[in-house]
Amino acid sequence: MQSRYNDYFGEFGGRYVAEVLRGPLDELQEAFCAALEDPEFQADLERVRDQFIGRPTPLLHAANTSNELGGAQIYVKLEGLANTGAHKINNAVGQALLAKRMGKRRVIAETGAGQHGVATAAVCATLGLECTIYMGVVDRRRQRPNVFWMELYGAQVVSVTSGAQTLKDAVNEALRDWAASFDDTHYLIGSALGPSPFPDMVREFQAVVGRETRQQLAERRLTPDALVACVGGGSNAIGFFEPYLEATRPRLIGVEAGGRGIETGEHAARMLGLGRTGILHGYKSKFLLSEDGQVALTHSVSAGLDYPGIGPQLAHLGEAGRVEFRRASDAHALEALRTFARNEGVIFALESAHAAATALDLAPELSPENVIVINMSGRGDKDLFITARELEPEAWKAFLSEEEASL
């Protein structure tokens, strides 16, 4: 069995933080390891998963798409049907329960697409924790509906105007807050990255996705040939892949944001030779950096993939060859979103649509007895303002004008 606390994954990971954060991280590591061994904590987690998250989430056979392509059978883990619309809730629940167990009264988090912020705000509402969410103003603009939800849940949403004003800058602000507030505050990081023990902790809380999928496949006597997940920081991917990391099969495929095309420089793909080994946000991994080590600007149509680093365990698994990396462009992701909506009645989040796009490419390469499983880590409701503008610009503009006129 793999260890639950690793610190390093090959050369990646670690705890590269200023001394002020060292104590809180040591405390967190101890509390996390103890909680995992505590049946009472596990029972709490199970109860919240059952009653609040809505687990298990379904595993859908995308029969129409599979037949149309004539290749592998495509299955979709509908993780986006979890409460608050994405896999983010799994980690938020786990860490928030841990925070309560540690006696913290306040939770802070960063958010990019807003899904982690929404999940954290919702969990804090139900557990009675004060909640502050840091969000770059660029992300705030493109994911405005999620800001509305976070505030409705009672969270304070702080706009981050420093740096590039996106997810990485929100992480910086959250780290600053935590350095001054750790006595009573837990930093609920949203992806499988950051200083240890966060990568291990987030993987453990997200592993429920992979374990459930494996069980659902087994119940249908199916053996997966490939698992496909999008990778920003990589929390949905590492949780989805977790039960299979020690095995040699199935193929594990991580899909990065190809943005407007690698040649344009406007993307968020760190693997396949594009990223450099560096240290940012407390961990060592592959990052998009200048030669000097300055963090590069990234682009993706999906805010959740618009981050310059990849979780250290995925970087290691990529270098070791266990996880294959591919890319999907903005356009490719939007096309996949349309395909699954029409064929299957399922609307992917733009992030997850990158995984869908790659699965649509992969399926025809395989035969009908093969099985591909996509993790639809989020559903697409939150992206309405982006998707509608991209796919039906004129109709959307007319609608917005009418709305404004009616106000």
């Binding site: 670690g14 705890r15 590269y16 933080v17 200023a18 001394e19 002020v20 060292r22 104590g23 040591d26 802070i108 502050t132 103003v137 304070q156 702080v158 706009s159 981050v160 105007t161 420093s162 740096g163 590039a164 004003q165 990485k168 800058d169 992480v171 910086n172 602000e173 780290l175 600053r176 807050d177 350095a179 001054a180 507030s181 750790f182 006595d183 450099r276 080994t277 560096g278 240290i279 940012l280 946000h281 407390g282 060592k284 990052f287 950096l289 200048s290 030669e291 000097d292 080590g293 300055q294 963090v295």
Partner: protein, 295 residues
């Protein structure tokens, strides 16, 4: 009023090379005991909004690490006091830890401060720094676990840098007796002790000086410079006493937005002279207590 040893902080190439060289000279003229030059990093998460904004401007104006070493060589050639280089792990490991240390030593730097490369996750910094003849300075906090502090002290560092409050640079420091006792303990151990974070007034300097080898003044001097550059017509004499909000979680956590990044692109000579003069006055006040604000 007696002079006290100050470690004055500045950001290399903020807002441009010429101004930052003039700032270095002004700080040295003011009689600081140590100069701490920070290489701008895009994501300085251990710094507050003032230093982040200065770094953002320097980077927008094209700062390269090579330029930083070149400027340092010029500063150290003139300086009669030790010059320390502060930056983040990303810049150090991107160049290669050994190459970075060699370049720093060649630039005449006395030591390195890299807060996100603690001794047990240092990527070889302490060994490489030592080989290059550099004083690699561990950053510690008063809340550090005894066991960790003992491990650091067992490595016999020449100097220690104490972050005097939990949190980020540029916020108000409240000096409690526990912090002062912590400093005294460290010095009793034979280390040279620098301490700062949030020091902005002469009274704080005077209170701290007996407990330290040098009082680090960082954000306050950068803030003096940035205020003078942004508001060239306003007098800066009150700078050392200025109170700026730096509390956690407030909406103002990020300070100025990117708009001002563009605003400081070209510094007219008169504005530069005035801004550098403001920094000189602020540093002189902190070092010597001359001018306004003595008690």
């Amino acid at each position: 009023m007696s002079t006290v040893p100050i470690m004055a902080h500045m950001v290399s190439h903020y807002p441009d090379r010429e101004t930052s060289l003039a700032v270095a000279r002004a700080l040295l003229d003011a009689g600081v005991a140590y100069l701490e030059v920070q290489f701008p990093f895009s994501d300085p998460s251990a710094d507050g909004p003032v230093i982040q904004q200065a770094s953002t401007v320097a980077l927008a104006n094209g700062f390269k690490v090579e330029d930083g070493f070149e400027l340092l060589a010029e500063i150290t050639a003139e300086a009669e006091v030790p010059v320390y280089l502060m930056t983040y792990a990303s810049l150090v490991v991107s160049r290669g830890v050994e190459a970075f240390c060699r370049a720093a030593a060649e630039a005449g730097v006395a030591g390195l401060i890299v807060p996100d490369l603690p001794f047990d996750y240092d990527e070889g910094l302490y060994a490489a720094g030592s080989a290059a003849g550099l004083d690699v300075v561990p950053v510690v906090v008063a809340t550090i676990a005894e066991k960790r502090l003992a491990e650091i002290l067992a490595r016999r560092p020449q100097s220690l840098y104490v972050a005097l409050r939990s949190g980020i640079t540029g916020s108000e420091t409240v000096l409690d007796s526990a912090s002062l006792e912590f400093l005294d303990r460290l010095r009793a151990d034979g280390c040279r002790v620098f301490g700062g974070f949030g020091v902005r007034r002469r009274e704080q300097v005077e209170e701290l000086a007996p407990h330290l080898d040098a009082v680090v003044v960082g954000s306050q001097l950068v803030r003096t410079l940035s205020s003078a550059l942004e508001n060239p017509d306003e007098p800066q004499s009150a700078a050392p006493g200025v109170e700026v909000v730096g509390s956690r979680g407030a909406n103002g956590a990020n300070g100025r937005g990117s708009e001002s990044t563009e605003a400081i692109r070209a510094v007219p000579p008169a504005a530069r002279a005035a801004a550098v003069g403001a920094v000189r006055a602020a540093a002189t006040e902190l070092v010597s207590g001359s001018g306004s604000g003595t008690h």
